[in-house]
Symmetry: C2
């Protein structure tokens, strides 16, 4: 689906502690850095739908497991992926794509590296039932 | 201590899930973005000493609690701080400062937002006993 990139990331294991890659500025899917923040999402809770008109998201699941559902309202396509430590990938979501996401484990933390600073004016919101999806 | 900045960060609580601020490019302590990665550190394990000659670190503890010890080998000063969700601050460490850090909880995860990409040539390492500190 256009506007979405999944990038497998390296996990480097070591007896003292591990290293998990997230993003380099030379990576595909890097559109500049303006803000980083964590979102937590409780078990079985769904946040969404939200569409950014300027922000490109780069998402990594730090703890737990999260199901992301993306919707392109021009092609009417859905794309879904569950990310976790086991399926450790970066999800790049270009502006214009609708997104909702659901917490699967007891504790779920998502990191977003965004190309613009948070600005509620550039986001559109819809109720969960306004884009039909079988969760 | 010169070369170190501690910045308290906002935590926004919500019934569906929370938001934890990390960094904006307009913040003090932002020296450019080139790479983000997570490090885990096991309980009672100490990683260090390490000195970066070019990289400025911006560190946030995502999970658990971590004790950071910084050492300026010109002024011979030490600086120490424990960061966690309870003491949620960003620790900016300019290049030139020596650092070691210790895992306190069972599970500890540190996020680093760095101004250059990883390059082992720009880091110096010393054994833990080569800079005397009472852990």
């Amino acid at each position: 689906m256009d506007g979405i990139v999944l990038t497998p990331l390296k996990q480097i294991y070591n007896v003292k502690g591990d290293i998990f890659h997230i993003m380099k500025k030379s990576d595909d899917g890097f559109y500049g850095f303006a803000e980083a923040y964590f979102s937590t999402i409780n078990k079985n809770v769904i946040k969404g739908w939200k569409q950014h008109t300027e922000m490109t998201l780069n998402l990594v699941v730090v703890i737990g497991e999260v199901e992301f559902v993306l919707y392109d309202n021009i092609s009417k396509e859905f794309f879904t992926v569950c990310l976790s430590k086991k399926n450790y990938q970066r999800l790049t979501v270009r502006h214009g794509i609708w997104m909702a996401f659901r917490g699967i484990d007891e504790k779920n933390i998502v990191l977003n590296l965004a190309n613009i600073e948070h600005n509620s004016d550039e986001a559109n919101n819809l109720g969960l039932d306004e884009i039909k999806y079988e969760w």
